[in-house]
Amino acid sequence: MSILVNKDTRLVVQGITGKEGSFHAQQMMDYGTAVVAGVTPGKGGQEHLGVPVRNTVREAVEQDGANTSVIFVPPPFAADAVLEAADAGIELVICITEGIPVQDMIPVKPYLDKKGVRMIGPNCPGVLTPGDNVKVGIMPTMIFSPGNVGVVSRSGTLTYEAVDQLTRAGLGQSTAVGIGGDPIIGTQFLDAIQLFNEDPETEAIVMIGEIGGSAEEAAAAYVKEHVDKPVFGFIAGRTAPPGRRMGHAGAIVSGGEGTAEAKLEAMRDAGITTVINLAELGDTVKAHFESVA
């Protein structure tokens, strides 16, 4: 078991003939992901990397049986690509594209909710389930090992750091989810933690948050009420000054909201083990497993 992506994932790559889409489609195939088609409007009928290229996502669903989509299209067209996937019957849309205007994303989320479609991202590294050798996105595969720790993070390289430390500590992962660094994202910490909580294979959850917004606080409140599995939390940006946007569009402390201290406090209150020194993340989780063994 795992969450979101597994052996049943049949992936269509939106933007497969572009530089990024092409490179990562190959990487995903090499890892073992079932890439069944690509979409580039106007290039339907061609073959690329050994899979058919379609003009529309609907064709990829009807002709190739795609059930999951990953989006590498440029920012001006990305919101439309998400809506197209949802409308074509895709169940899970993972949007890697960084730099989508906020106003473009506002109507997307309620539309997906109405359709019952889940989105991961945008501006995210994707999802990877090592036990099934399935990756959807851009995560480096060699740091992963199969196991029972669920990882959820807003940031790409911080996800890799966490996964790498876990693997080095002898702790494999059930699934790693990068939810994205934008102000509006499809799947929040709370949603991912709920999925991990319901996944029998996941025995512990690591959440890597950062300053800005209040999603970590909402997740902490959920953990307090509903989660009995051990949860470990880190918040990046304790030293970031207020009012400055730290790279991610969503990473900003404004009007006193979104501080690292408030998030850490909410997490501690929920019984989440907080990690202050990033370098100690893997060892902290390992110490927990050793203490219960």
Partner: protein, 390 residues
């Protein structure tokens, strides 16, 4: 992206928002001319306002009223060229290079109205209050019941009844109610159509003669949407930005200058923040945020080193790269090439982890350059501590 008050008012006026009359000026002579132009239309009292991106200008002496046109020249002389220190500029202040000369209004009441994104709900929210002219955060903390909030459901947009609810909650009546409704609807239109992330009017005023106008205006634009607003993109004023940040943006580096003593260069925004925090735990203070993104070529690494090192406070540099798609051996070559091309005057600690990390370490070792390398994060932190204590 921040814009000046006068630019925000231009954007608002284009969308039909009633803004206080004003003319921007770069020199004292232009300021006097601006006042004369307005005087010809019957304006008798003026306010000269410093145009800098930071707020709190009045507190620092950057906003001056004069009851007659004769006061415009001395006010403009005083403000133009001054280094204005406000609660938002930091102690170093900001040089004033433009002023806005405006018609002074006889104010009956000051209100607040602002539009921004409610991240938790994923929709725009309009906030308004009868307590204008003060920081809205202060109102929210002390008297939250005095703030009315209306969310805009994206499936139906902002509805007339909602506009009426806001204006009525603010106590507008008669002709002023009509004007206030028109104002709020136009403000939201301006926010949406310019892809703003914030549009804030503080204060919005009702004048003694019953008009409803924006006395001040603050707009921040979504940088990701500037591609479809070339006219707004031109409003960027690099003179208001930290010179090192402007230089970094030319190399596609995401750099933010901070006040610490350890520079850092990292791939990825989250890991960059995590690295700053690690520097603090290692006994230093981060001198910057710097995300080199996914490439880390010799050119970008060298540009990054030069920018970090031009900050005289920097006592050590920590490079932290988690190689995923970008391979560590390539990053190591970039670091070596950059370090050989320039005179590195402070200790350099390079932590490479991920794809081909061992090969990367080897390249650093064989370079013969005085580079401390690390694979585990804690090792890198310890080496930062050692460098600071050396």
């Amino acid at each position: 992206m921040k814009v000046h008050e006068y630019q925000a008012k231009e954007i608002l006026a284009q969308h039909g928002v009633a803004v206080q009359r004003g003319i921007v000026a770069d020199t004292v002579e232009e300021a006097v001319q601006a006042a004369e132009t307005m005087a010809a239309d019957g304006v008798t009292q003026f306010v000269v306002k410093a145009q800098i991106h930071a707020g709190g200008r009045g507190k620092g002496g950057g906003v001056k009223f004069t009851p007659s046109i004769d006061g415009v020249r001395p006010n403009a002389e005083e403000i133009l060229g001054m280094t204005l220190v406000t609660p938002q500029t930091g102690p170093e202040g900001q040089l004033v290079q433009k002023v806005l000369v405006t018609a002074a209004e006889d104010i009956a009441h000051e209100y607040y109205v602002g539009v921004t994104l409610d991240r938790a709900k994923g929709m725009d929210v309009i906030m308004a209050s009868t307590e204008g002219g003060v920081e809205i955060e202060e109102v929210a903390a002390a008297t939250p019941e005095k703030i009315v909030k209306v969310h805009v459901d994206p499936s139906i947009g902002l509805r007339p009844y909602q506009v009426n609810e806001i204006a009525s909650a603010l106590g507008f009546e008669g002709q002023a109610l009509k004007e206030a409704k028109k104002f709020i609807a136009a403000l939201y239109r301006a926010y949406r159509q310019s892809d703003a992330t914030t549009a804030e009017i503080n204060p919005l005023v009702r004048t003694e003669d019953g008009r409803v106008v924006a006395l001040d205006a603050k707009i921040e634009l979504d940088e990701n949407a500037l591609f479809r607003h070339p006219d707004l993109a031109e409003m960027r004023d690099v003179a208001e930005e930290e010179p090192l940040e402007v230089e970094a943006s030319k190399h596609n580096l995401n750099y933010i200058k901070l006040d610490g003593n350890v520079g850092c260069m990292v791939n990825g925004a989250g890991l960059a923040m995590g690295t700053m925090d690690l520097i603090k735990l290692a006994g230093g203070e981060p001198a910057n945020f710097l995300d080199v993104g996914g490439t880390a070529s010799p050119q970008t690494v060298e540009a990054g080193f030069r920018i970090i090192q031009s900050d005289p406070n920097v006592k050590a540099i920590l490079v932290n790269i988690f190689g995923g798609i970008v391979r560590c051996d390539r990053v190591a070559k970039g670091v070596v090439e950059a370090a050989s091309n320039m005179d590195l005057t402070v200790p350099l600690i390079v932590r490479l982890q991920g794809t081909n990390a061992e090969e990367g370490m080897q390249i650093l070792k064989e370079s013969g350059l005085p580079i401390e390398s690390a694979i585990r994060l804690q090792e890198a932190a310890d080496k930062v501590t050692a460098a600071l204590n050396a």
